[in-house]
């Protein structure tokens, strides 16, 4: 058997190597872990505000909603700022420092002055929540695809990094979700307990999260402007939008993102289905096991993308999704068809859910090829915006359809219908 030729890639940046080391993908994941755990922790803000500070849940809910509205506008604004950024550390990489700020604001959020008036406490919580979500999380989410495209020069390395990142972040999020309630029970009953717990966690996460900035450098640099070529740094907002308007594949990907996020966020309909149609809401947990399909998918998708291409993967998975829903619909309340259908349904959304950054980089390349100018930040932020709109539409759509069907949760046997039942 012929001995495999050993590649000598010494001196080649890790993100450009033919055989990118796994550990480099793991380092790339560190910021993802810190950001994902922040999302899980910040969800507890309502509990913290009501049960430890004694604040009104309706006002807290209003503050959180207002933050989400601000969030939508900061997304698009940040994309434009990113396109204008050009530093010695690169275009997207400098914004990685927002992970430290995100944890700093989280520490401050869970250290709301307890002796201040309630009005001050509401303002404090609102300000910190907006800084965490509308500023820091927006910046960190907005740079992801741009940083990926600049830190990994081959599509294979990009997909490999996405897969390693996805697997590690998922494992860490699950572990945190399991472990954190224990900490909460032990030290989360007092304000001082929360304070010390969040400070300890915040320091560790900020240090972990900044590792990506320290170790993963941007390989692709902006071209110098000496030869008269225009870079995105020279583009006005009008010119950037004009270039985006000519990028038909971006519109397709944004459409696919919207649909994927609508489909993935319509999970509340599942509860109603199992309660009223299946007749046993506890079975929903059994069928939810199908979501674990993401684990083998993370391992298999890079190989499939390499063999068949990302476009073919997208098309085939859409077809698989349709087959899944068809099986689920035809099988009715049969548990086997519900599980098989659920697995295929999950596979249908996987390409966009797992590899959205790869498709966005394709769109950036296509836009540059088509128009001569490369718009990166605005492309990434439009996609970010679409994901948030998709999640919002899903919630609204569920309520709208249920309202039209005359659903009344307090009425006995509210859902007597057979075809329009939500």
């Amino acid at each position: 058997m012929a001995k495999k030729e050993r590649l000598n890639e010494k001196g080649v940046p890790f993100g450009a190597r033919q055989r990118m080391p796994i550990w480099y993908g793991a380092v790339w994941s560190t910021r993802g872990i810190a950001a994902a755990i922040n999302v899980v922790l910040v969800v507890y803000v309502t509990f913290y505000s009501t049960d430890l500070l004694g604040l009104n849940p309706a006002i807290i809910g209003g503050i959180l909603l207002a933050s989400r509205i601000i969030d939508a506008f900061t997304d698009l604004g940040f994309g434009y700022i990113l396109d204008k950024t050009h530093t010695r550390w690169g275009k997207a990489r400098p914004y990685e420092v927002f992970i430290i700020l995100e944890w700093l604001f989280t520490i401050l959020l869970f250290n709301t002055p307890q002796h201040a008036s309630q009005a001050v406490q509401y303002v404090w919580i609102g300000f910190m929540y907006i800084m965490i979500n509308a500023i820091c999380a927006t910046a960190l989410g907005g740079i992801d695809s741009v940083y990926l495209a600049r830190a990994f020069t081959t599509e294979q390395n990009q997909i490999k990094a996405i897969s390693i990142n996805g697997a590690i972040v998922m494992i860490c999020s699950i572990a945190f979700n399991i472990v954190f309630p224990g900490f909460l029970a032990a030290g989360g009953k007092t304000l001082s307990g929360w304070s010390s717990m969040v400070i300890s966690l915040g320091v560790v996460m900020a240090v972990l999260g900044i590792l990506r900035f320290l170790f993963c450098k941007e390989i692709v640099k902006d071209e110098a402007n000496e030869d008269g070529k225009r870079t995105t740094n020279d583009l006005t907002m009008k010119e950037s939008l004009s270039a985006i308007a000519k990028n038909k594949y971006l519109f397709i990907i944004v459409g696919l993102m919207l649909i994927t996020f609508i489909v993935n966020n319509m999970q509340s309909a599942t509860t109603y289905y199992f309660k009223y149609v299946y007749g046993d809401v506890s079975t929903q947990g059994t069928v939810a096991i199908t979501t674990l399909i993401v684990v083998p998918a993370l391992i298999v998708f890079p190989a499939l993308a390499k063999k068949f291409g990302t476009t073919k993967l997208l098309q085939v998975c859409s077809g698989i999704g349709i087959a899944g829903i068809a099986i689920r619909s035809l099988g009715g309340t049969n548990l086997v068809t519900l599980i098989i259908g659920g697995i295929l349904f999950g596979l249908g959304t996987m390409p966009i859910s797992l590899m959205i950054n790869t498709y966005l980089i394709d769109c950036m390349d296509y836009g540059e090829w088509k128009t001569g100018v490369r718009v990166e930040g605005l492309v990434a932020s439009i996609a970010n915006f679409a994901s948030k709109v998709g999640a919002g539409v899903a919630s609204g759509l569920t309520g709208l359809v249920m309202g039209l069907a005359g659903y009344d949760g307090l009425a006995e046997g509210s859902c007597s219908c057979t075809t329009t039942c939500p």
Binding site: I262, I322, F345, G348, L397
Partner: protein, 45 residues
């Protein structure tokens, strides 16, 4: 029933149509070659 089965079926139908319209793989070799020439470097496949 509508939200659990029919609505996702419609959405996946639209998703399939959009994914069939997404033909970047067919222009990728030309696109990569042109961009590599533009940037004056060999863009790795």
């Amino acid at each position: 029933m509508f939200l659990y089965n029919y609505m996702p079926l419609i959405l996946f139908g639209v998703m399939l149509i959009l994914s069939l319209m997404y033909k970047v793989d067919s222009i990728r070799p030309q696109m990569n070659a042109d961009l590599a020439a533009k940037h004056g470097e060999a863009k790795a496949e």
